[in-house]
């Protein structure tokens, strides 16, 4: 096992973390698939409204690689296909039947101790709709099946507020996790399992952890691990998969059925009951929140982590990759003489608030706490960047459309953690600059 000390990042202590108990939710009335929340894909529908689908029927494919399929997480009837701007497919809603019928996939050759080759694994995974669980750095697109990466990383942690605790979702599932790992071993030259020190100390049985780290958010990101361990540029195209999806992978190869289980976290100070919920992929957000929301302030519903997630509504569903719902106050109340407040309970990376003496988790809302200004080169962003980018210089080269310079700053190493935007004194959305530049570069390259 390799020990890593990740010095940068930021341990943000926010009130509203979920309890470590797991509650099983009933079956929802409908589930949905949200193609617009899967980055880069060009979805092409394989079903029509009113059609009957089973769990594992193909809903849509990725036009860029028709072998990559996205399957139905429910058995029932296609109730609605929602389109957004320019007829982008927003959501495919499936009204669930009382029965649970599955499309059966043949996984017999992967059972027991039998040996199998990589091509068969890839083929089965693509057929079984679980290939998109594996994603590729640096752009975080779905992995390119033909490529043999140097490493594949399974990350087992929840440094970002608030993601499911691996100890919760691994409980009783370690067998499936190990099964998943045995499959993943075929896909890359090295397979790493990456977790924090605190997590190891609690000892989840039999999980073969290869790298353990000490450090703050986003030390658990596979991009941060690679930044610390990579030796040459060929390792840039590393693959990664989340811990929950390793379990799903194991489940698929044990049962031959498309796995739909998901452990989703409900957290944030406006959540009346915070905890882990065992439910399924594509579950309606209303089904999770139910009555578990505090009245009063307007809540922002964030799907997928406070830093990297997106704001959504109660009417929507949980996306393919998201495992978390956080309810935060929308904020935006103006404060008198805000710039002179002592701020004992105002979270800040800077030491300009008395909260730097306050060790307790603090309440946060979605206020910007200021207005955008020109960069004054205070350097906070470079101090938190976990992969040693200099955001304050990189964003200027991006703004000046100097792609070469921006790339030499290592913007492709960016793990999109959002800490630079968080700490910025001038309220510049630095992370957005870098994310967009990466996206534009990727699309140009393709």
């Amino acid at each position: 096992m390799i020990l890593l000390k990740i010095k940068k990042g930021f341990d943000i202590k926010i009130e509203g973390s979920p309890l470590p108990d797991l509650l099983e939710l009933d079956k929802p009335h409908f589930v949905a698939s949200l193609p617009e929340r899967i980055p880069f894909i060009k979805p092409k529908l394989a079903v029509e409204k009113g059609e009957k689908v089973k769990i594992g029927s193909t809903l849509f494919i990725d036009k860029r690689n028709p072998g990559i399929k996205f399957l139905s997480p429910g058995c029932g009837q296609i109730e609605k296909i929602g389109f957004g701007a320019r007829r982008a497919i927003k959501e495919i809603v499936i009204r669930l039947d009382n029965t649970e019928e599955y499309v059966e996939f043949d996984v017999a050759k992967f059972s027991g101790d039998r040996d199998f080759n990589r091509d068969d694994v890839v083929k089965s995974m693509m057929e079984g709709g679980i290939w998109p669980f594996i994603r590729e750095l640096p752009f975080r697109d779905i992995a390119a099946p033909g490529y043999m990466p140097y490493a594949l990383i399974a990350s087992l942690d929840n440094k970002e507020p608030f993601l499911p605790d691996p100890r919760v979702y691994l409980k009783g599932e370690t067998g499936l996790f190990k099964k998943g790992m045995s499959i993943l071993k075929k896909l890359a030259k090295n397979v790493y399992v990456h977790s924090s020190k605190d997590f190891i100390n609690t000892n989840v049985e039999g999980i073969p952890i290869t790298h353990k780290f000490s450090g703050d958010y986003p030390a658990d990101d596979p991009g941060v691990l690679m930044h610390y361990i990579k030796n040459n540029p060929s390792e840039n195209r590393t693959w990664y998969i989340s811990g929950q999806d390793v379990i799903n992978l194991g489940s698929f190869f044990s049962t031959g059925r498309y796995p739909v289980a998901r452990t989703v976290v409900l957290a944030g100070i406006l959540a009346a009951k915070r905890g882990h919920f065992k439910t399924r992929i594509g579950v309606p957000i209303k089904h999770i929140i139910g009555g578990r929301i505090k009245d009063g302030k307007k809540a922002r519903i964030i799907s997928g982590g406070i830093f990297s997630g997106y704001a959504t509504s109660e009417e929507s569903c949980i996306g393919f990759y998201e495992t978390s719902l956080t309810l935060l106050p929308e904020g935006g109340e103006s404060e008198a003489f805000g710039f002179l407040r002592a701020g004992f309970d105002r979270p800040s990376y800077s030491k300009t608030f008395l909260s730097c003496f306050n060790r307790r988790p603090l309440a946060a809302d979605c206020s910007l706490h200021g207005d955008e200004r020109a960069c004054v080169n205070c350097g906070s962003c470079a101090k938190v960047c976990p992969v040693d980018i200099l955001p304050q210089f990189a964003f200027k080269s991006i703004a000046a459309a100097d792609v070469e310079e921006a790339l030499s700053h290592g913007i492709l190493d960016c793990v999109e953690c959002g800490l630079c935007s968080y700490v910025c004194t001038s309220k510049i959305d630095l992370c957005d600059f870098i994310k967009n530049a990466k996206r534009v570069y990727y699309k140009d390259k393709a």
Partner: protein
């Protein structure tokens, strides 16, 4: 009171009233109002009283509590001790030399009379330019000027004519900052740019040979001009073979007095002690870089000691001066704490901040020692290194990026 009630204005009521006033007048400044071109002014005032109501859109949904207003306000807080002492000292020196009472109330009120007009002119003229540029460019007014507006008068002698203050701050704001695009885009420290302009345009007032104490004509008392000379001016007069320390001691400028700051000089610069207090505050809150400050002190001390080694019997008196005098005399402590650490004009990279600070200290001493025309070096040293900070950044970034495993 009669009924046993104490009538108080509760703060939230007061803020409610202020808020109402803003809401009532907002329409005049919006796109179809009469005063729409002055919207930046309205916005600046409103956000001074109330934090803006905007929220995050995407990306990280929460943001840090700090903003530029707080960042800059903290510099002003750090400046306050030096500023208040500067007021007192200006009044004290003036009353002392004019033979008036030097007790605290008398000195402080005299100081207010001397200093406040200078500060007022600096802020009002500077704000005029800020508002003009912000209105034309349709920018928000940046908080950087809050600091410039008070830093600039603190670097001036109390005897400065007000029209020169107006001219200096205009030059500093317009040429030092706005022509580059405003706060954050300037390459030189605007306050020092303004001061340098005055120094070269009106050397008679600014070069330090002049008496920097406001003298009131008092009947029947001949004023001893020399007793109003600044320590640097005294030192500059030292001939070969003379010892500056003894010369200063003779004038009453012992090391302790130079440290505490009750001697004639620019308004804010005299007390090294309070500059250290301000610097510590800025370092602790993470606003100023300790690398620059410590680098600067090391630069002064090492250059000073090095020059001491070259000092012989027939060499200039400056060469043999104890380097600690350089730290406490003149504007070095003020410059290195508040001017050199301006993040916009200093390098952004951490390692070269040491070089930047060190070079400022070194140049300050070299200018003081080898430049016979003007014995204060810190202003030129900082401006000179401001010019080099992009280059220093460039070098460190290149070296650092070379170590990165390329990812394209």
């Amino acid at each position: 009171m009669r009924n046993g009630y104490i009538t108080r204005i509760r703060p939230d009521m007061l803020f409610g009233k202020i808020k109402e006033t803003f809401e009532k007048n907002r329409k005049h400044f919006q796109s179809d109002g009469r005063l729409k071109s002055l919207y930046p002014l309205f916005e600046a005032f409103e956000t001074f009283f109330f934090t803006p109501e905007n929220v995050t859109k995407e990306g990280p949904h929460i943001r840090d509590g700090i903003d530029l207003k707080r960042f800059m306000s903290f510099v002003i807080i750090a400046l306050l001790p030096s500023f208040l002492f500067g007021i007192y000292n200006a009044g004290y020196q003036s009353n002392f030399i004019s033979g008036l009472p030097v007790n605290f109330p008398a000195a402080f009120s005299k100081g207010l009379i001397i200093v406040m007009p200078i500060v007022f002119v600096s802020y009002s003229v500077g704000f005029f330019w800020e508002i003009l540029f912000a209105s034309i460019r349709k920018h928000k007014i940046s908080e950087g000027f809050l600091v410039t507006g008070i830093l600039f008068p603190m670097t001036l002698p109390p005897t400065i004519p007000l029209w020169q203050v107006a001219l200096g701050i205009s030059f500093g704001v317009v040429i030092g900052k706005e022509v580059f695009g405003g706060t954050g885009r300037n390459i030189l420290n605007p306050a020092l740019t303004g001061r340098a302009f005055l120094f070269f345009a009106y050397p008679a007032k600014m070069s330090g040979d002049a008496v920097w104490t406001v003298i009131e004509k008092v009947k029947d008392r001949s004023v001893d001009i020399v007793s109003g000379a600044t320590p640097l001016a005294v030192s500059a007069l030292a001939g070969i073979n003379e010892n500056i320390e003894i010369l200063l001691e003779h004038k009453g400028y012992g090391l302790l007095r130079l440290f505490t700051g009750t001697y004639p000089g620019c308004i804010g610069e005299t007390s090294a002690m309070l500059c250290i207090a301000g610097a510590l505050f800025l370092i602790f809150t993470g606003i100023a870089s300790y690398r620059i400050i410590i680098g600067g002190i090391l630069g002064v001390l090492s250059t000073g000691f090095l020059l001491n080694m070259f000092a012989g019997d027939a060499s200039a008196a400056w060469l043999s001066l104890n380097p600690f005098y350089h730290l406490v005399m003149g504007g070095f402590a003020f410059g290195i704490s508040f001017m050199a650490t301006d993040p916009v004009s200093a390098p952004g990279m951490e390692k070269v901040k040491w070089i930047y600070g060190f070079a400022i200290g070194m140049l300050t001493v070299l200018i003081r020692v080898f430049n016979p025309a003007y014995s204060e070096g810190v202003m030129m040293a900082i401006l000179f290194m401001n010019l080099f900070s992009p280059l220093l950044d460039y070098i460190e970034i290149k070296l650092r990026l070379k170590k990165r495993i390329p990812n394209v």
